[in-house]
Subunit: 123 residues, 2 copies
DNA sequence: GTCGTTGTCAACCATTCGGTTGAGGAGCCG
DNA sequence: CGGCTCCTCAACCGAATGGTTGACAACGAC
């Protein structure tokens, strides 16, 4: 199983239908039936999708008679954003520094092809 | 198949191993073998992971003799961030100004029964 | 109470996924 | 050339996924 929350969140959003549901829920809460409406799949399938979103912490459900209004939880988005930003920044940084590194390498060696690969082990 | 890029990106990052690889690549480029090193899985499995990341646009590979140095592509992160931010903001907004306003706006639609429900409808 | 609505659970099916092993292509080195 | 390294492709396997249908619990409406 996906185990950790981040995995569950990403997995949940990997499905276009579920992303679409999130988009809809961003506008306002909706019951399972309302969520199911735009799609030609069965209500059970939608119920499953909602469960996936709920397990991921993206959605919470309350009770309203037989209905189960779904509410979008904004906090989990921060979890993703944090992860993404972290590595995006590192990658960007590294990219920005690339010129310097390349210049140095260029200066250091002539095109003897590879001699000492691996800039991989940085820091 | 997942079809669109956003789906592929999210699906790619849904796997902890692949997220880990991204984390590693954020530090610096690495060959497939170097990527495989920390894990107890076969090189072929890692190669598959790299392919998934590549198909998602998160990673690019170049040629260096037999090696295939992997490079993290920062741009795709923006695609995700954009999507996330969009709906996070909507959800947050909606949360901030509470249901009262929307419930009022929506009070007129009320289909014959149960008027009690929240602001479920989206156009 | 009975009926209709709403949603979930369970079982099943086809496909996908992450892993394996085996084969082999590409490229350096001796 | 032959051998070694690095990596990918192909086939296979078990588990998870997304969908279906059928049953049924919960609840309001009559």
């Amino acid at each position: 199983m996906a185990a950790d929350q981040l995995s569950r969140v990403f997995a949940a959003l990997a499905d276009p239908t579920r992303r679409d549901m999130v988009a809809r829920l961003a506008v306002g809460d909706a019951t399972v039936g309302e969520l199911a409406d735009p799609y030609d799949v069965s209500v059970q399938a939608v119920s499953k999708h909602v469960k996936v979103l709920t397990d991921a912490g993206l959605v919470s459900q309350t009770k309203d008679a037989q209905r189960r209004p779904c509410h979008l939880e904004a906090e989990v988005f921060d979890l993703m954003t944090k992860w993404i930003e972290r590595y995006r920044q590192q990658a960007q940084e590294r990219y920005d520094r690339l010129d310097a590194v390349l210049a140095e390498m260029r200066d250091d060696e002539r095109p003897t092809k590879h001699r000492n690969r691996k800039q991989g082990a940085a820091s």
